[in-house]
Symmetry: C2
Subunit: 238 residues, 2 copies
């Protein structure tokens, strides 16, 4: 019997019930762009982020005076302060502030895993920090991709594969699922050129159409920040 903690990849929130056997820590990943924006904001002084699943909840917070970020289909929702472009989260005006956030996919994944013992926010920009944090904990890990409306998404899977590879390479973790093997293989073939590898990916095409190439480059550049945002009782902080 292999007693090491496990690390497994779950591609999308709708598959969460199939995988949630014994994960102690869930890492929520939405590379393009929600979890990247959260990490960028947290590393640049945002104090607390309140993720909410619906525009309705976001509106309620807005009416109560909160700064609210709302994105749907890649765009800032009309009437809100910002969206999920990571650059808009690197803003001196947000330092020390609480920001409410709702996005198409990322905050849905956070909502899905809200009953996990611990929830960590992962992205490529805080990759090594997350691996280091999880390695220290030595608990069972589930890496949850946000996907695109519950469909498999390449960049989240590659990020999950990168985290899985980091933990498995240490020899201190085990893995059973084919989803984890596939994510690792995809990461290994992508890692020398994320931009080129993801050229054809559906999400990248979607954002390119919106002229978000700079955002895409930022999101696909690993290890720019050294924070591990944790979501607890509906609040994200570091």
């Amino acid at each position: 019997m292999d007693e090491r903690p496990s690390v497994e990849v779950c591609f999308t929130p709708n598959l969460y019930p199939l995988h949630f056997d014994d994960a102690d820590v869930v890492v929520v990943i939405d590379v393009l762009r929600a979890t990247t924006a959260i990490c960028a904001g947290m590393a640049n002084g945002v104090k607390t982020i309140i993720p909410v699943a619906s525009i309705e909840e976001a509106l309620e917070y807005r009416q109560r005076g909160y700064i609210v970020a709302a994105e749907r289909k890649g765009k800032v929702v009309e009437g809100f302060d910002l969206g999920n472009s990571p650059y808009s989260w690197i803003n001196p005006e947000l330092i020390g502030k609480t920001v409410v956030l709702t996005t198409t996919n990322g905050t849905q994944a956070i909502h899905t895993s809200r009953r996990a013992n611990e929830m960590v926010i992962g992205s490529l920009i805080n990759l090594d920090a997350v691996v280091k944090y999880l390695h220290k904990k030595k608990l069972n890990v589930m890496l949850l991709g946000s996907g695109w409306r519950n469909k498999f998404c390449l960049e989240d899977t590659i990020c999950a594969g990168a985290i899985a590879d980091g933990l498995l390479a240490s020899g201190d973790f085990r893995s059973e699922e084919d989803s984890t093997i596939a994510a690792k293989y995809l990461y290994l073939s992508a890692k020398d050129n994320y931009l080129g590898y993801l050229k054809a990916s559906s999400h990248r095409r979607r954002l390119q159409d919106l002229n978000l190439n700079e955002d895409i480059k930022y999101c696909l550049t690993p290890n720019q920040v050294d924070v591990v945002p944790i979501c607890k009782d509906g609040r994200i902080s570091i």
Copy 2:
């Protein structure tokens, strides 16, 4: 607007409703071992195969005098004639016969896609025959993996990636989904050594424990037969 027919990969039956937009042909894939066994049987003289989802239905057929193959968890179910080992389907006694089949995953995937306009049985052993058939049809194709109890499974995805690659390489098909890109990438890195690539896969490990190494080798050797079994009105034939 790209008017070419599409080819997309759906990893598992539970995701079928998310993907089933406009597929004209569904290719059901269960490399280890249901669809491989079907192709082996059909290429070796079995006349008709009746796939059924449950052991109960299989038992009813058994009582009515049919030859019945039933597999659960990699083993022949007690009281039935054979399972899904492809070697057991290459048998002179089955020539010209109708065989009823129920398996853990493969026949569930067939059941899931029973309302598709056309259903094709795909595997690595009839890979080129399937690609050729689909290329001639020039219709929208969905490649449906059987998975393992609705979890992602590496060998089905690699087979789907091989078919997708064959069609996309012709330039006559288009693809939009990240699942298709990932399947293609996985196939491309696996194709020179399927056995090695799948060494760690969960299903291979499961079958290895049952001493089914010869079966695994057979199932992972492409292009051994030149048949394209079609499932129509609940009956598979060529």
